[in-house]
């Protein structure tokens, strides 16, 4: 039996601002992970990643990150990705400021 695919989101940093963004189903980049498209199929994930990587004028360093469905959209499964949705823990800077 093939290994079960862990759902993914496509994420990157914005070229000019450098902040973390997530690819939505509507092909926009959102600063909120909850808006991201949760991809359940491996082939689709690869396709969406290639699509993201073809936008070098918008984002940098696109990759697939593990995620799970939550009440308000996709949520991180790893603490690194959780930090990217919030900002650093030593100052109230980054995304948590506007949350």
């Amino acid at each position: 039996m093939p290994r079960k695919f862990t759902p993914k989101v496509v994420t990157a940093n914005r070229l000019i601002e450098g902040d973390a963004v997530w690819l939505t189903a509507g092909d926009t980049w959102s600063p909120e992970m909850g808006d991201a498209e949760l991809i359940e199929d491996e082939a689709v994930a690869q396709e969406r990643l290639i699509h993201a990587q073809s936008q070098p004028g918008v984002v940098v360093g696109a990759y697939l990150a593990d995620a799970v469905a939550g009440p308000d959209g996709p949520e991180p499964t790893h603490f690194r990705e959780a930090f990217r949705t919030r900002g650093p823990s030593n100052y109230f800077h980054g995304k948590q400021e506007s949350a």
Partner: protein, 557 residues
């Protein structure tokens, strides 16, 4: 202090103009990220977890009041009102925008600063003892040599694509405050029969495979410095492994080749390149040295200082902890702690930078230093002014009396900022500092160096911490490994792992158990943690850390 020549000025401006054009071409799409990344790294620009990060070099840790003020201005104008001072005598800005970087670099160039070769496989910012030129125990000021090396290495055509980054540190004292044994090349100024020269070490480094540098030449005459360093770098450029990033540093080259063979190759190459150095470098050195001449020291009476010290216990505690002996008895070296418990180690707000700049101007001949321990130094303060300096520092929240104590922790940015991190380091440092402040044990524990890195790259020097903490990712959870007995001084030693790591909420209690055990077993208050560890070994600390294991062992026996 060193001031730029016309050549330096033109060079730095030219680099900013080039980078401005490169940023424009990146933004308009004519450069891809793959093309742009090496260019931005050459100019100190990284992309981290939440934003870009700009790393600015503070060569040999020396900066003027005007430069410090400009760092504050940049923090306010283009960043979040603070900067992070690092273990390599750099300052990092954590929130700049790509489009602003050329303007920031221009603002730096206005005060003769830059971000060149703070990244990439080049010869990096040359670091030096932060007490250089002021220390009582110094043979000669290491900074003119560091500056000579900087000029020689900047844009050196042969060394722009080394197998890996290359770090050089210089000290003028037998007591090593610059961790020279953990650098690719470490230089110690020594004196033999009245002649100044260098003891040259090679192959030190931390990171994934920590190694202590070995002596390649016991005495190198001063005039041979550049050709000899060039010979080392050129042997490395040829032998260094380019097939495997993890084996590319010179420490691996030295380890795999053996120090004897390295010495033979370096000496042979040195014989070849030496004739090309016809003495121009020595003339340049002469010119540089003049710029590092000591200030005209004011001879001020010290009685007021002695009286203040006797009557004010807070001032006395600060003097006893944060002041180091100066080469002149009527002066002192002041270490300003950027480690107030609860604060991020190494961070200074723009307002604090302004205060430091003003103090340097008013009381310290316009000079400041950044230490690799992430503190700021006022290297030359007349003792007569110490009271006033302390008062101003206190007002700015900069008078914490903890230099060299448990809360004076080195911590890398870790997972709070760094894209390579496997765990956080800043909050661990903050919590250890606050915990021991609450316990009021800091002065009882005495001299101690805790160093924390958020991944195996070891930017926080954890291997050479008396207590080292390494943050790892164990199956998606932060986990912290402890090492004991490391030492970054002239007796450099890599610490030894205690055993299994600790979860995020267990690491502070674990450090507490180690230090309570230390206080319990030390022979006297004079026996420091490091000495106690060297005498008693790992066992008592292991027993304190892993009591259940001990019980099991007792059971089995």
């Amino acid at each position: 202090m060193y001031t730029y020549t016309d050549f330096d000025e033109a060079f730095v401006r030219e680099r900013v103009a080039q980078f401005r054009a490169q940023v424009e071409r990146r933004i308009d799409g004519s450069l891809t990220e793959d093309e742009f990344k090496p260019l931005r790294l050459m100019n100190g620009l990284y992309l981290q977890l939440h934003a870009y990060m700009l790393r600015v070099a503070i060569p040999y840790g020396t900066i003027s009041a005007a430069q410090m003020r400009q760092l504050a201005y940049i923090a306010d104008r283009w960043d979040r009102g603070y900067g992070h001072f690092t273990t390599r005598q750099n300052i990092q800005y954590n929130w700049p925008k790509l489009k602003d970087i050329p303007d920031i670099l221009d603002a730096l160039a206005d005060v003769q600063m830059h971000a060149i070769q703070t990244s990439g496989n080049t010869i990096r910012n040359v670091t030096a003892d932060h007490f250089a030129g002021a220390a009582k125990d110094e043979i000669a000021d290491p900074r003119p040599y560091a500056e000579l090396l900087r000029q020689w290495s900047t844009d050196h055509a042969e060394f722009q694509f080394l197998p890996r980054k290359f770090k050089i540190a210089v000290t003028g004292c037998a007591h090593d405050r610059a961790v020279i044994k953990a650098h690719d090349i470490g230089l110690q100024i020594v004196e033999r029969d009245g002649e100044i020269g260098f003891r040259v070490l090679v192959g030190g480094g931390l990171g994934r495979t920590p190694m202590i540098g070995q002596v390649v030449r016991d005495f190198l005459p001063e005039a041979d410095l550049l050709p000899y360093v060039e010979a080392i770098v050129s042997v490395y450029n040829l032998l260094g492994r380019r097939d495997n990033k993890f084996k590319a540093r010179i420490k691996i080259t030295v380890h795999e080749t053996g120090i004897e063979e390295i010495r033979r190759l370096v000496e042979a190459r040195f014989a070849e390149v030496r004739p090309a150095f016809t003495g121009v470098d020595q003339q340049i050195l002469g010119g540089i040295r003049a710029q590092f001449a000591a200030p005209d020291f004011d001879a001020l009476p010290v009685d007021g200082f002695e009286a203040a010290r006797a009557e004010d216990p807070v001032f006395r505690a600060w003097v006893d902890t944060n002041i180091a002996p100066h080469r002149r008895d009527d002066h002192a070296i002041v270490s300003v702690s950027l480690k107030t418990p609860g604060q991020t180690p190494g961070d200074a707000s723009s307002a604090q930078m302004e205060v430091l700049a003003a103090l340097a101007e008013a009381y310290a001949y316009d000079e400041l230093r950044i230490s690799h321990e992430q503190n700021v130094i006022l290297p030359n303060v007349p003792r007569a002014h110490l009271r006033e300096v302390h008062r101003a520092l206190k007002e700015a929240g900069l008078a914490t009396a903890n230099i060299g104590l448990v809360s004076d922790i080195i911590a890398c940015p870790g997972m709070d900022y760094c894209a390579l991190a496997t765990a956080r380091s800043i909050p661990v440092a903050k919590e250890i500092a606050t915990r021991f402040e609450d316990l009021k044990m800091e002065h009882e524990i005495g001299p101690l160096k805790i160093k924390i890195s958020g991944c195996i790259n070891a930017c926080g020097h954890h291997h050479v911490g008396h207590i080292g903490i390494l943050g790892l990712d164990r199956a998606g959870v932060e986990n912290y490994q402890i090492t004991l007995g490391g030492d970054g001084s002239e007796e450099a030693t890599i610490g030894t792992r205690t055993g299994p790591g600790f979860a995020y909420d267990e690491i502070v209690p674990a450090i507490e158990r180690i230090l309570k055990k230390y206080v319990e077993i030390r022979e006297s208050a004079e026996e420091t943690f490091l000495l106690t560890y060297r005498r008693a070994g790992m066992d008592p600390f292991k027993a304190a850390l892993y009591p259940d294991k001990e019980k099991e062992r007792a059971h089995a026996a």
